[in-house]
Symmetry: C2
DNA sequence: GTCTATACGACGATAGAC
DNA sequence: GTCTATCGTCGTATAGAC
């Protein structure tokens, strides 16, 4: 079933249509509260076809998560040991703000999954994500050890960057309501990135690049 | 029905038991994915009794939200115009980290509600919360105008404090998995508060109090 | 007030016609 | 591959015995 994704034309048009519809719907209410019927409706096909392409709901959800993780991993910005920390962290913050803007549904789907206990994501968190944090922490620690930045806990710094950037995607409703806006604009996103980069970098004893 | 809450004894023991059970369960999966049956099970009573005390699911959920908001408002730390900004913001950050620890379920219930579009919270966001942010922003702006701190957008500073502190409650699963811990300890919470206070205050050009 | 029993719709999933 | 029809289960909600 998975291999079909290679073929864009023909029999797999529905497969991709369903996957897109499922991402959209699962991101709204999470796994349990989302029905196969609304996914089928959004995809514009009978409910039975969804079961034909994806054996069951659980399976469809897993495919959706895998699809998101691929996009996520491809966008995860890499920082290097020999880089200037200000440049690297600034780029990391800006990349994540952009990702929250361009892939807000994916971010909310992840947030839903984690808030609800991450039952379908346990292994990914334990394996890939933990290792990713470990690698980046080591680099940040090396910057601290060489006196390039303040001694701050690298793991919590990563959490700070994650939480403050994701907030604008996951809590979009709250943010827009309080700002009294209907939707984000590209300028606002740049302003958010500027603000977060400025405060976090200075907070770590770094000068804006 | 609401007035009953005043009476702790007698007929209203079940009312409060159900409310507690509902807070717990709704915070796990959100409104739609939570069934009246699991709430009744957690409260240790027949499902029909839940419908007797709270007319329907919608009504029960509203009562739960109101209950949370009361606790929330009571804990919302006030900052004053004539205070030292470092002292005020430090206290605000520490209060919110503590709140995320002591009222993690309430935080997650709010997070769920907002991620899912805040259908039941619309008025609260528009009225009370927007006004709260406006008031605090004005105070922060006055600190900026008198040169006590760097010129940063006050609203985004509030968002930064909210997001970075809530993260430890809402994304508890992810945080604990990556830290390879089973649960939070009081020391960790203090460490988190120290870290966030240090970085955010310095990021705003303030010295730790 | 407390419980059992049940109505009735929505759910995931499948059988089987085309 | 695509659809309609339908199964069994679970959802919210209520009726009615005690």
């Amino acid at each position: 079933m998975r291999e079909n994704r290679e073929f864009i034309l023909g029999q797999t048009r529905q497969y991709l249509t369903i996957l897109d519809a499922a991402i959209e719907e699962f991101s709204r209410l999470g796994y349990k509260a989302t029905s196969m019927q609304v996914i089928a409706n959004r995809a514009g096909i009978p409910k039975a076809n969804v079961h034909y392409y994806f054996k069951n709901k659980e399976n469809l959800y897993r495919e959706v998560l895998n699809h998101i993780i691929e996009v996520w991993n491809a966008s995860f910005d890499e920082i290097q040991n020999d880089e200037d920390p200000a440049v690297a962290l600034d780029r990391m913050i800006r990349a994540k703000v952009r990702l929250s803007y361009t892939h807000a549904t994916a971010s909310r789907l992840f947030a839903n999954e984690i808030i609800h206990g991450a039952e379908h994501l346990g292994e990914y968190l334990k394996q890939d994500m933990r290792q990713w944090v470990r690698d980046k922490s080591r680099i940040i620690q090396s910057w601290i050890d060489t006196g390039k930045m303040d001694p701050v806990d690298p793991v919590h710094l990563i959490f700070l960057i994650w939480s403050s950037t994701q907030h604008y995607a996951d809590f979009e409703t709250q943010v827009l309501t309080i700002l009294n806006r209907a939707e984000y604009e590209s300028e606002m996103i740049d302003g958010i990135a500027d603000f977060l980069s400025q405060v976090i970098l200075k907070g770590c004893g770094l000068q804006a690049p």
